[in-house]
Symmetry: C2
Subunit: 405 residues, 2 copies
């Protein structure tokens, strides 16, 4: 098997942990596999560098930030390669450039345009264990870029795709993907497997184990990804293409997100172009709108529009919206920050009816009022009062029988 | 003027010092100059990284060490660029690769093969202040290399040569080049200027202000170099092509070196090929021999050979020499470590006689015995008992009237 193993910041957080990672890589290699490692910066290192830059400037140049932050992964790649050589195997570090990860020029959150991995392929053929500095790429004109928070996951998946690896293992500090947050529901169960689409819904909803873009990339190139703990030998969760078996499970997990705020525009003119005007103004400020709900017009003349944005952008969004309130013909705008989004996710919803109704009923039975509803093929999300978040997660987890049997 | 300014580790040793460097660069720029900065890693950073590697392996791979250590300069280049932008000027960091510093493949002490500096030239033309990560280059196949201790000096001189800069300023923690070590002779005088050749003799003799290879590079491309303090506005010392005025000064400085050890091989066969055999064996072990003295054969059959090597290599050299002692036909080998080399340097020696005699006489008057003598066109070196080092330096400094007037 050709195995790509990605080790996150806590997995390489100290010299002792780097030695443990080297042992883990060596034992996989000695079992007869070919191994490619991808490493993040040592835990805390990236935040330390960001801290230094912020002491110099409140708004440091993004190209400079990329050069600065990419150093952390280079350091851990070199140290990990040294540690692997120390246990008697051949190892060699590779930077984003040496791997041939070519990105666009959007610094601090660059997108991979292509990946050659020629030198990595050659190294693997020669029995060498390549140790790749994650999180980084390079533009056509040789500027260093970084792939955004969690970007090392994307490096690992992209390398696995380029090498046509059998599996991409993401080693992290949790045992895998759970049916919900075990801190809220102790009976939460580790999933054996989950489809790419379900993982995408869960990740974007706040289950931050795998970077969303790495899941999209894995889906596109059909790379099987395993999320597992670097501190145990447990099997973890396999993220893979949807299969027949998965369809039998109606709901795979319950997610929640407390980082959204809700803005409601009351008494908007009910005519074409109004919603476009509003959301164009918000998009121009680079604010990402998540849910949008427009109520049915009761009088045929005006209606209400509600939407959610990340809490950090809520004040800015409120100001933008207030600025165009007369243009929209609206009466008023209000902001609510004490809300949460609770979602159920599962590919089985496609073939099972009554799932949403069961969710609403379960919440209603606890007296939890639903402020907004949004659905996709494999997800139902409800915005509720923030104080009911934990209660809602628990009762939904129970209602859909997700706990340990 | 086009000015290349190099800032060493102590000059960028903290965020406050980086801010001070940014101010210095900005004021040079605002005086109407174009400025290119070259920075070292923040003081202590390189040693910290070496420490990490050594905890993993006693003999870490040199290619990995280069990737590891080059990170330090990348971090300070990014931070310095951010600091310069913060004072309102345009700045942009460049790595060794982005500068186009192509080296050979000898990791940890690579030699520059060529330098293009295309992007740096373009940046300068556009009014941008390039901030270059010192100490590093890249091989033809894109592996990161480093240029050895003090390699950022070489980066600065090479960039100055490539850009045809008017001056290369090396900012450090001393005020310039002195006639001798001011810690030994308080009257030591800062030199206004010194020739490349004199500087080479002084540098290789232990006056470690400028990396030797950077001086050779500066000489080859005739780059005027100024060594000055980053903590004052004093003019420093200009290292430049020899001129008429310099020839009038017989001795420019007195240097000393306590890091050599002396090995004597007694009773060697006095026939061709013996010296070659001895020094080939030592060279094969990558040990650099400094002085070599062979006494005149008294009986026509055997002679003694003395030579000096760096103290760190003395035991190894002794073993190698002992291993071939019968081949050499020698009677015995002995090692002395309690020695020092004291030298006088000056281009004026070429046109003045009696300089060496005056040195020997000065030492003799103090009862200092000379163990070995070696001379070049612009230098006379004597090996003496280590305990007389300071005394010898003081009396020579005085005899050649080098102190403040």
């Amino acid at each position: 098997m050709l195995v790509v193993q990605k080790y996150g910041g806590t997995s390489v957080g100290s010299l002792d942990r780097i030695k443990a990672v080297a042992e883990k890589i060596a034992s996989t290699y000695k079992e007869g596999n070919r191994v490619v490692a991808v490493v993040s910066a040592m835990a805390g290192e990236t935040d330390k560098l960001i801290g230094l830059a912020n002491q110099l400037s409140q708004n440091p140049d993004e190209r400079e930030m990329d050069l600065l932050l990419s150093s952390g992964e280079r350091i851990s790649a070199a140290l990990t390669a040294i540690a692997i050589r120390q246990v008697g195997l051949k190892a060699m570090s590779f930077t984003g450039r040496q791997v041939g990860i070519i990105t666009d020029e959007v610094h601090t959150r660059a997108k991979i345009e292509r990946i050659t991995a020629e030198r990595v392929k050659k190294a693997v053929e020669e029995g060498v264990i390549p140790v790749i500095a994650g999180f980084q790429g390079i533009t056509e004109k040789s500027d260093v870029t970084t792939l955004g928070r969690g970007g090392s996951d994307l490096t690992a998946v992209a390398v696995a795709a380029a090498l046509n690896a059998d599996i991409c293992e993401i080693y992290t500090d949790v045992e895998g993907i759970y049916t919900t947050d075990p801190n809220i529901v102790p009976e939460a169960r580790k999933l054996e497997k989950i489809s790419y689409d379900e993982m995408l819904e869960l990740a974007s909803l706040g289950a931050k184990v795998l970077q969303t873009r790495s899941v999209e990339f894995a889906k596109k190139y059909n790379v099987p990804v395993v999320v597992r703990s670097s501190f145990s030998d447990n099997p973890g969760t396999l993220v893979m293409k949807e299969d027949k078996e998965m369809e039998k499970v109606v709901v795979s997990g319950v997610a929640y997100d407390k980082n959204q705020a809700k803005i409601t525009v009351i008494g908007v003119h009910d005519k074409p172009g109004i919603a476009a005007k509003l959301f164009n103004s918000i998009a121009e400020a680079n604010i990402i709108v998540d849910m949008i709900v427009q109520n049915v017009s009761s009088d045929g003349k005006s209606t209400d529009i509600s939407f959610t944005v990340p809490k950090v952008d809520s004040k800015k969004t409120l100001n933008i919206t207030k600025g165009i309130v007369t243009e929209l013909g609206a009466k008023s705008v209000n902001l609510r920050e004490d809300i949460a989004k609770v979602s159920i996710v599962g590919v089985g919803m496609r073939t099972h009816s009554g799932v949403a109704a069961k969710m609403f009923e379960t919440l209603a039975r606890q007296g939890i009022n639903i402020l907004m509803i949004s659905t996709s093929e494999i997800k139902v999300s409800c915005v509720i009062d923030a104080k009911y978040t934990e209660l809602a997660v628990r009762v939904l987890h129970d209602a859909f029988e997700l706990g340990e049997k």
